[in-house]
Structure formats: structure tokens, C-alpha cells
Symmetry: C2
Subunit: 159 residues, 2 copies
């Protein structure tokens, strides 16, 4: 037997996830203090949480405004035919657009909700032109974001 049992996460595991989600670059020794463990079992738990897939990756949150991507918009996209082929082509191409921060297929009125980031209205027009030309796109509607009320709040750990 190689696989380990699907152990339930205890309070310490959850605290580790909560801390790492908010401070991905904390040192293991500091993390250990936070959860009242010594360094070795703490590191063991972090490794386990990574290997079991609870932690998918680590990243840095950058200031988009300082990097010329200070504006955000959501574009509702409707495709003209809902065949698997059309969907696949659209997906493949939209993923390749760097300014597309997110793209979700949705139920409830249109097909895709695309979140984009860009510098100014000129960049927006160019980007919209690109998206309108994607395979199968029949109509779009844009909502420009005027204020970020809440952003990258992670997964709720302690309710």
C-alpha cells in the first residue's frame, strides 16, 4: 500500500491554510510559532497539504495600476451556436489573451463572463475588438469596474 488515508484536516491544518492564504511568504519557523508547533511537524504538514492538493500554488499580488493595467471590466459574451466545437475554439483562444484575467462559463442568460484588465479606453477598444472576433462570438456587453469593493479574499477557512 502506497497511498495514505484521506485524513480529515484538523484545526492546525486549517490555521496553516488560513495563514498561508493571507501570507504566502511567511517563513516556516514563524508559521510554526503561529500554530504552536515546532518547525519540523509544521513543515511536514505544509508539505502534506501541498501534496494532497489543498495548496495549489503560491503567488504575489501585484499592483495593477502601477503596471499599466489599472482598469478592469467584465464582458458578457454570447456565442452564436452552442456546439462543442465552437465552445472549444472560443476557450482555446480566450485563454491566450494576456489581458483576460478570468473567463468563466456561466448559466443564466449568456455563455461566458470574461474579466479583463487594461490601461485605458484605447486599450479597451482594441481588446474588445479582439474578443468580438473570437470564434463564435455573437454579442457582448461590457461593465466597466468603477471601484473594487473587495478583492482576492481567499477561501473561507473559519466561518
Amino acid at each position: 500500500m502506497t497511498s495514505s488515508k484521506p485524513k480529515v484536516l484538523d484545526r492546525i491544518d486549517l490555521t496553516i491554510l488560513d495563514v498561508l492564504q493571507k501570507n504566502g511568504r511567511i517563513s516556516n519557523s514563524t508559521l510554526a510559532q503561529r500554530v504552536n508547533l515546532s518547525a519540523s511537524p509544521c513543515l511536514e504538514r505544509v508539505k502534506r497539504l501541498e501534496h494532497e492538493g489543498y495548496i495549489e500554488s503560491y503567488g504575489a499580488f501585484l499592483n495593477a495600476s502601477k503596471l499599466k493595467y489599472g482598469m478592469t471590466a467584465f464582458i458578457q459574451v454570447t456565442l452564436d451556436r452552442t456546439t462543442a466545437d465552437i465552445f472549444n475554439k472560443f476557450r482555446a483562444e480566450v485563454i491566450g489573451i494576456k489581458q483576460v484575467a478570468e473567463c468563466h462559463m456561466v448559466a443564466g442568460g449568456f455563455d461566458y463572463l470574461v474579466k479583463i484588465c487594461f490601461e485605458d479606453m484605447a486599450a479597451y477598444r482594441a481588446l474588445l475588438g479582439t474578443i468580438v472576433e473570437l470564434p463564435g462570438v455573437s454579442q457582448t456587453h461590457t461593465y466597466i469596474v468603477t471601484e473594487h469593493v473587495k478583492r482576492h479574499s481567499g477561501v473561507p477557512i473559519f466561518d
Copy 2:
């Protein structure tokens, strides 16, 4: 003179941002190799990028499905009166809801676009009930996410 000049980011700075955005927990020494610097000037640059606000924070991306928040939806929210007071109250309360992953004020048809995560439809109903009761809410429309085509792609660094 205490403040430093607003230096333009060079290729090395941009590479550092690009790498950290995708791998927030990389060690400084490995990062230094990637950008062909020794450890000390590399660390200096990272610290500078943090202090100048290019890097806002670091985080871990968790697997929401394994943590009982596998479903996502976007809720369009319209408020009944558009006074500053109503907006402020709504903002203050929506921020406090843990399952609200994002909330954006938007122009183009309704007032707020709220992204929520939840476990199942029972949890969704409870959450929608909470949101409908928030100060000033007059109507909502929900789009359930059926597929994540693209997620947490960061800010484009190299176009």
C-alpha cells in the same frame, strides 16, 4: 533627502515580478539565478519592489473544492436608491460576508457585481437570502459558474 527617485523598472525588475507572481514562494537565491544576479542585489530589488508598492502581498492559492467551496456564482445587484449613504452601508456589510470572494462597483446597467463561493445549492440559497437583505438592495440576478476557463492569471508583464 529621504525619498528615492521613481526609477523606471528595467527588464530584471519585470522578470522578478513575473516570476514572483507565478511562484510566490521561490527562494531568493533561486530567483537570483533566474535573473542572473547574485543573492544580495536580487533581494535588494525585491525589497524595493515591495516598498514601492509594486508587490502588494503574497498568498497561497487553495483548492476551493476540497475545502467545501467548490461552486462559484456572480450576482448582479441593483440598489434601490443611489445615495452615498446607501452605497456605504452596502459596501461595509458585503465586505464582511466571508463567502463574498469579490465585489465590484460597475457602470453599465446595475450597481455591483458580486462573486461568491459556496458548497451547494442550499448554501447558495442562504447566501442569496443574506445578500437580498443587505441595505438598499432592490434586485439581484445570479449567474452560476459552470466552468472555470481561466483563473488567477496575474497582471501581464511581458506582452
